[in-house]
Each structure stands twice: as structure tokens, then as C-alpha cells.
């Protein structure tokens, strides 16, 4: 095993052991904190496919996170009011079933990523950054000015949604669901990175001309990667809204995009577990520094600045050393 694999195993072990310990010592708050970290990690794993593997600096991933959140909010709010979403031409009702909500969240955010990606990927570099940021802001303003689902105030859900056979209101049981999804997505992502598609996408990041001269369209590779990336971040959004039983335009804001990117970088971009380590650290910092000062974002800013200027490669890069994340 490489050092990085040992590190990954240790992180996974911590994600299992720490909440179990918190459960045994009756600290539900710590379980919820870990749940939050795992959900943010999932959002970051999504972004990492575009950013790390594809080299696509998307500053608009809050769009997909928020769409996932609103998919949950809309479906569950209709269900709790017994008010169908659509009656004509056919009946569509809300639902409190998590698996259905996840499917809707993944589909909706995937379609949005496909549309935004199709337009943004016509450009590259700085244009791409500004355009993804702008499209994210578009959805943010749309959510604020569309009054049907709470507008600026957002949408609250009374009870967490259902999962067959589990009591989702019990923090540890909800955490099990989140961890299982995170593990499944991590597994699929590691397969994706090693697949033909992953190889081609990674090569398109390094040398688009090379990929094109062997008959593969970099645009298609990137669009598919961007869509998959959006789908995963959308799933995370649905879970995040379910965790808080609340969704609001904040999930769609540019700060959210920035924060997801920040912890992916802090953890280690293009590393399989980079977003996981980054999200855990982010939550830890928020908790520790947030307790120290109301203005903890200043420290976060300074830390980020130092990492960017002097410690490229993030935490995993520093601990596991140089070398590639996916071989």
C-alpha cells in the first residue's frame, strides 16, 4: 500500500470510529457535525471530478448543490401539505422518500450541469471561471425572486424524510445512510478515475491537442465529467437540506461555491480523499476557530492564502508526498 492509501484507510476508519464513539458516549451533536462533514465531502468529491480530473475551475457548483437542496425542499414540502406539484396533464405528487428525492436531485442537477456545461465549455480559462460563477448567481437570484418556494426565506421541512427500514431522525442512523452514500460514490469515483474515460479526461487536462489528435473530443469528455460532477454535488445538496430540514438561496450563493472549492484544495485537489480530508478539516476549523472568534473567516482566509502561496498539494499532498492520485 502507498502512503496515500494508508492515509485514506485511516480517514475512512475515523469516519466510522468517531461517530460510533460519539454514539456510545451519547454526544449526538458530534454525530451531526460528522454527518455535515461527510455531506460536504460528498459535494467536494463531485467538484473534484471536474476540478481535479478535468482541470475545470468551476466556481458555480453551488448551483448543483442548491438544486439538489431544492429538489428535496420542493418534493417534501408538497408531500407534507398533501398538495400535488402538478395535477394536469398528469398527477405529480410530492414525496418524503429519500431514494426518490435523491433520484430527482441527481437528475435535476445533472440536467442543469449539462446545460451550464454545454455553454461554459465553449470557452476556457478565465472565461470559464467567470461564466460558471455567473450562472450560479443566476440561479441564486432566481431562487430569491421566485416566491412559490419561500423566496429569500427558504423552505422548512417539519420532519426529516424517510428511508425504508431506518429511523432517519436518529442521528447515527441518518449518518449511516450518508456514510454509505459517500463510500459508494468514492468507490465509483476511484473506478472512474482509472477507467478509459478517466484516463482520457486526465489527458485532456494536460494536453487537449493530444486527445483531439487521437480522435477523442475534449469537449465531450469535459461535458460528461462536468455533468457527473454536478450530479454528485446535487446528491450532496439533497442530503445537506435533509440534514438541516431547511433549504434556502444561501445554498446557491457564490460563497458556497467558493467554500466547496476551498476545502477540496485544502484537502488536496485530484486526490480521491482530498475532499474528505478537506471537509473534515473545514468543519473542525469552523468549530474550533468559530468558538474562538466570531470572525473566524479571517483566520480561514489567512490559512488559505498561506496554503496557496506556500504549500501546494494540500494536506494529502504534504502527508503522502508527491505522486499521482490516480494511476
Amino acid at each position: 500500500m502507498s502512503r496515500e492509501q494508508i492515509l485514506n484507510a485511516a480517514v475512512m476508519l475515523a469516519l466510522v470510529a468517531f461517530p460510533l464513539w460519539a454514539w456510545a458516549t451519547d454526544e449526538p451533536f458530534l454525530i451531526t457535525l460528522t454527518t455535515k462533514a461527510a455531506i460536504l465531502a460528498l459535494a467536494g468529491v463531485g467538484l473534484n471530478i471536474a476540478l481535479g480530473l478535468g482541470g475545470l475551475v468551476s466556481l458555480g457548483h453551488a448551483a448543483f448543490f442548491g438544486i439538489g437542496g431544492y429538489a428535496m425542499g420542493v418534493l417534501a414540502s408538497h408531500a407534507q401539505l398533501y398538495d400535488p406539484i402538478l395535477e394536469t396533464p398528469f398527477l405529480i405528487e410530492g414525496t418524503k422518500s429519500m431514494p426518490i428525492i435523491w433520484l430527482v436531485a441527481i437528475t435535476a442537477s445533472g440536467l442543469a450541469a449539462l446545460a451550464i456545461g454545454a455553454l461554459s465549455l465553449r470557452t476556457s480559462g478565465v472565461y470559464f471561471i467567470m461564466i460558471t460563477l455567473a450562472f450560479g448567481q443566476m440561479l441564486y437570484f432566481f431562487a430569491i425572486s421566485w416566491p412559490a418556494y419561500g423566496g429569500e426565506d427558504g423552505l422548512s421541512i417539519y420532519v426529516r424524510n424517510d428511508f425504508p427500514g431506518l429511523n432517519t431522525l436518529d442521528p447515527i442512523q441518518f449518518y449511516v445512510i450518508v456514510l454509505a452514500l459517500l463510500a459508494a460514490v468514492l468507490f465509483l469515483t476511484s473506478r472512474l478515475a482509472k477507467s478509459s474515460f478517466g484516463l482520457a479526461l486526465n489527458a485532456a487536462r494536460q494536453s487537449p491537442m493530444r486527445v483531439e489528435t487521437v480522435g477523442i473530443s475534449p469537449y465531450r469528455l469535459r461535458l460528461i465529467a462536468f455533468t457527473i460532477s454536478g450530479m454528485i454535488t446535487g446528491l450532496a445538496g439533497a442530503l445537506f437540506a435533509d440534514l438541516n430540514r431547511f433549504v434556502s438561496p444561501t445554498m446557491l450563493s457564490w460563497q458556497t461555491s467558493g467554500e466547496i472549492m476551498v476545502f477540496v484544495i485544502i484537502g488536496g485537489v485530484a486526490r480521491l480523499f482530498g475532499p474528505v480530508v478537506g471537509a473534515m478539516l473545514f468543519i473542525l476549523l469552523e468549530h474550533l476557530l468559530g468558538g474562538l472568534s466570531d470572525y473566524w473567516h479571517v483566520y480561514l482566509g489567512v490559512l488559505l492564502l498561506l496554503i496557496v502561496l506556500f504549500a501546494r498539494g494540500g494536506v494529502i499532498g504534504s502527508l503522502a508526498g508527491r505522486g499521482k492520485a490516480h494511476d
Partner: protein, 249 residues
């Protein structure tokens, strides 16, 4: 006379006031090496881009195996069997030599969009890639990261990637550039045999290599082909001597 595999008919391209290609008609026939020479700024790169895709001519056509490929992009021409190598190596430097070769095999087989099976575990792809590495003599370096290769080895890898496409024609942009005497000699020997796999349109500055390899030579000066012929004919062509070879002599 055999049908040409690759042919340009009256290609014209200008950038503002600069006429980069003026009514260029050249062809590439089976089994030959056709060298394209000319002083710097003559428009060789512009012509190559129009042939390989990536730049649309203002007028004229590119025919490949009888088909008009002018409206097609680089990727589509590559899928039809037109293999290109670059003057400055355009390889995925972080990847291994084998991964770079696999990329070509994936493009040729149209299998880049497989999402879960590890690329290295696909026997069909590996066979194609390893075979190409074998042909250029890079088998021993299959697991080496590309950035560790020497300049000459990168050139060999460029050719190997092109080979994985099972190409019907090669377009090579200065493959000898930056190679030492020994490297040039080796590559010259290799290209000499390669012409029987598929014909080569060779853009090259190294006159020793051109004169050793080329069946025919075309001379491009100021966006215009001023002569096409055998090495002997070109050497003795008075226009060429004035316009081009004279500068070197």
C-alpha cells in the same frame, strides 16, 4: 499512377493581409514519404493545421482517402486514420508511457467512453498500445512517467501514439527537431520502414533526413509551392536554389 491517399486541392488561407497559403495542391501517395520543406515563416505550420484539422481553409479542399474532410475537425479526421505528430511533443506528461499509448488505442477503437472498467485491464487496448511501443522500441519504458523520458524518447512515443491509430497516413511536424546526430539517424531508419505501414507527409528542417528519406519533395515559399519533384529534381531546380537552398549554401 495510384490514387493519392491524402490530397489538397487549391487550399488558400490568409490572416488579414498575410497570405499564408496560396492555392496549394499537393498529394500523398501510398508507400511514399513526401517531404515538405521551406524557410521559416513560409506557412508550413498553417498548411499542416489545415490538413490535420484545427484550421479551416478560406478556399480549397482536403481529400482523405477520396472523401472531402474539409469541414471535419481534428478528432474526426483522426478517427478516419489521419495520424499527426507534433513539433513540440504534446503528450500527457504526468501519465506513463503506456497510458499515453493507450489513449491512442482508445481513440482508434472509439472506446474512450467506458466509465468503470480500468483502462489498464482492457486486454484489447493494451495489445494495441504495447504493440506500438514495441515497434518504436519503448517497451522497456512502458511504466515510466512521460516527463522522465529523454527528448528523443518523447519523439518515439509521439510516433507510437500515432501508430496505435492504425493510421492510413501520417502527418509529421519536424520529428527530428531537437534530436542529436544519433537520434536523427535512428529515427531516419525507423521512418524509412514506416512508409510501408502508411505514407508520410513529412515537414522537416533537417535536410540530411529529407534527402535520405523523401520520395518526393515539395518546396513552400511565402505560402506558395514553388516546386515539387524527386530529391534530384529539387536539388537542381534553379528557383529552389535561389529561393531556399541558396540561403543555406
Amino acid at each position: 499512377m495510384t490514387e493519392p491517399i491524402l490530397q489538397t486541392i487549391g487550399i488558400t488561407k490568409s490572416f488579414g493581409a498575410l497570405q499564408a497559403s496560396q492555392d496549394i495542391s499537393i498529394d500523398l501517395r501510398p508507400g511514399e514519404i513526401h517531404a515538405l520543406i521551406g524557410p521559416n515563416g513560409a506557412g508550413k505550420s498553417t498548411l499542416i493545421k489545415q490538413i490535420a484539422g484545427g484550421l479551416r481553409p478560406d478556399a480549397g479542399k482536403v481529400l482523405f482517402r477520396g472523401e472531402d474532410v474539409t469541414p471535419l475537425g481534428t478528432a474526426e479526421r483522426a478517427r478516419r486514420g489521419l495520424a499527426r505528430t507534433f513539433q513540440i511533443s504534446a503528450l500527457a506528461m504526468e501519465d506513463t508511457v503506456l497510458q499515453n499509448a493507450l489513449l491512442g488505442a482508445m481513440g482508434a477503437g472509439g472506446t474512450a467512453f467506458r466509465f468503470l472498467r480500468p483502462a489498464l485491464a482492457q486486454r484489447d487496448l493494451r495489445a494495441v498500445a504495447e504493440n506500438a511501443l514495441e515497434l518504436v522500441g519503448l517497451s522497456a519504458h512502458a511504466a515510466t512517467p512521460t516527463f522522465e523520458l529523454s527528448h528523443g524518447q518523447r519523439r518515439q512515443l509521439e510516433v507510437a501514439v500515432a501508430l496505435t491509430l492504425a493510421p492510413k497516413a501520417f502527418v509529421m511536424d519536424e520529428p527530428m527537431a531537437g534530436l542529436g546526430f544519433e537520434g536523427s539517424k535512428n529515427l531516419t531508419g525507423f521512418l524509412d520502414g514506416l512508409r510501408h505501414t502508411a505514407p508520410i507527409l513529412l515537414v522537416e528542417h533537417d535536410m540530411d533526413a529529407v534527402f535520405a528519406l523523401a520520395d518526393r519533395v515539395s518546396v513552400l515559399v511565402y505560402g506558395r509551392i514553388i516546386a515539387t519533384g524527386t530529391v534530384e529534381e529539387i536539388r537542381n531546380d534553379p528557383d529552389v536554389r535561389v529561393a531556399y537552398l541558396g540561403e543555406d549554401a
